[in-house]
Symmetry: C2
Subunit: 378 residues, 2 copies
């Protein structure tokens, strides 16, 4: 929902953006991004800096169109009058986030979820991938974290070499401003696979949430973005997001990750929400018949989901009527599982005031604040 | 739901299996299967018969376990006391279907959806794949269709060479007992892709429904069964079914298949149902913003879905309460989109009496009879 620069928050049902003393509004998906990958050059070592200077930074691409202005809201895009894509490359700045989001909507805490280095998890060279993640993390700390207490950071890591991901978690995980790691939906294997377990062990040990966000769909080593191969158009890759969310959620549960790391929490952003409903029902029914094949899954799959997986609210689906909407919230146990995410600054972002109909007071507090407070230990 | 051999239908809410004069119960997923692929040898030509005699018929496998007795109900499996898998290979017979399903539940019409040759669509050799489909179709006509007027047939075809699939449709499509073609969910590309359009053209011309049913998940050329690669356990491949259903449904709509072939209808069996709800909401919202990228999609995606796609009821998901169940039926427009499917004879089949709670009279008629009557032109 685009908003004119400088507009004040509108009056809307359920909106509680006024002055308050306690935590009231936590946003679990805000993108800090470099204007172009080469902005990371100063944060890279000599060899990679030279290679990247000579050849550019090459993330595998999918070949699908996206939307103009690198998907940013028109009022937030830099240089969006430039005649070609090259001139329009945009990043976000802390000052713009402060003025156009934090202050405007009176947001108390945001999770910086990055985006610029999601491609690191499908870069063939694990050392270069890890170097890019370190560079982006250092840039984020310098350009963002140190400027505002409202900012929390999700570490950029690459899964290409889990041990290097663990090293980056050891390096920055102790920083109390670091609250999560961030990974793309598109990857070579579902995230419950044992290949990733050293990363989850380190996340649990440092109290970091595992954040998952669309990225890499159909690009490079990630392979096809659906279980039936490569679709043709961008809108189909968007519809693949809930499919990928389902595959990762099932994988965490079926592989017993939450039995192995009982403190681990997962946040799945920007894949819509109501995929969780049918998935929980389907998993529970099948588990009752098939649990002898995965005996380490000791409880109903939906119990693991409700205890360990949180779902970002954006893009909030639009049922045909509010009765359906509230039934879906009820069926997904939104009072436990749903957290507010804006996806600022993208064109399809959700603002905190008008996206939801008026919720019952307790549910409003859970979705806009308490679920995230518990998730991040605020 | 297993049932003792010879038991009579139980009294249950919504059950109307008694004597009637008009069509009342249509079952859109019943499997006729050979006991082993080699049962098709007499229906193959000399060269393939020799090769298959010497080497067996080799469908690509996925490596995932399934369940015992080739997934059949224990009371229907042949030789289920045999000590090893080889001895237990089972097929279904017309007589068993008649006694244990058609007569028992007073079913008026069933769609024979096969299964034995779903792997033909991922066989590398298109001529052998087509020969296997022809053989299975001839076996089905001889062993099943000619024995009972209640049987309708979904043609086995392979997508490996669409022109050979068209040839099979030309050969048997004019037979009024043939009402559909049958394809597996697992394949190299989503089914809206232009590669398949000659098949859809032939289906529309002959009035055949495009049936899609789980099969080939993760096997051979079909590639990984999720958009995030290969999961580890069988239960995860079952959770991938709705994901694959979503990918195919989106593909048909985004590629404009229903604008190009306005008479085409698609039936998606055994992938659960409620994936349709979030998918319609998500597609509609995104289409409003992105429809310039697919201008041949002229109407809301959900309108194409409701007009052209039908969803088999098995396995019927199990919401926490009936209010959720009825809201989901309402949200998926079950009065248009849902058809009863039993998945006979598999262990996780749904019987027509006890799977649903008591439905309102009109909705019951739509789901158990009228939607299928319109789908197949009965």
């Amino acid at each position: 929902m685009a908003m004119a620069v400088g507009a004040r928050p509108i009056k809307a049902p359920g909106w509680s953006g006024g002055a308050h003393t306690d935590l009231a509004l936590v946003d679990c998906d805000v993108h800090q991004t470099v204007s172009k990958p080469e902005a990371l050059l100063p944060y890279l070592g000599r060899v990679y800096r030279q290679q990247a200077t000579e050849q550019g930074i090459r993330f595998p691409g999918s070949g699908y169109f996206n939307v103009a202005n690198d998907a940013a809201r028109t009022d937030l895009a830099e240089n969006c009058d430039a005649p070609s894509h090259d001139g329009r490359q945009m990043g976000t700045t802390y000052e713009r986030l402060r003025d156009q989001h934090l202050d405007l909507w009176n947001v108390d805490k945001v999770l910086l979820t990055g985006a610029s280095t999601y491609g690191a998890s499908i870069l063939p060279d694990p050392d270069f991938a890890a170097a890019l993640c370190r560079a982006f993390n250092d840039w984020t700390i310098e350009q963002w974290l140190e400027k505002d207490d409202r900012l929390m950071m999700a570490l950029s890591i690459s899964t290409t070499d889990p041990q290097l991901a663990v090293a980056e978690i050891e390096r920055l995980g102790p920083d109390p401003r670091v609250r999560a790691v961030m990974l793309p939906t598109g990857n070579r294997m579902p995230y419950g696979n044992r290949f990733y377990h050293p990363i989850w062990e380190a996340c649990e040990r440092h109290g970091l949430v595992v954040g998952i966000h669309p990225g890499n769909e159909g690009a490079g080593m990630a392979g096809s973005p659906t279980g039936v191969g490569y679709p043709t158009y961008y809108i189909e890759t968007r519809m693949a997001r809930p499919q990928m969310a389902m595959a990762h959620a099932v994988s965490f549960i079926a592989e017993g990750v939450f039995e192995k790391y009982p403190g681990l929490k997962v946040l799945i952003d920007e894949c819509d929400q109501f995929w969780a409903v049918g998935l929980m029902w389907h998993m529970d029914a099948d588990w009752k018949s098939l649990r002898d094949q995965t005996p380490w899954v000791k409880r109903l799959p939906s119990e693991y989901f409700r205890a360990h997986i949180r779902v970002g609210s954006q893009p909030m689906l639009e049922p045909e009527n509010s009765a359906q909407f509230f039934t879906m919230l009820d069926a997904m146990h939104a009072e436990e599982t749903l957290v507010f995410s804006s996806d600022w600054p993208h064109w399809d972002w959700d603002d905190p005031a008008t996206t939801f109909p008026k919720l019952p007071e307790r549910l409003h507090r859970r979705v806009f604040c308490e679920n995230a407070r518990e998730l991040f230990g605020l």
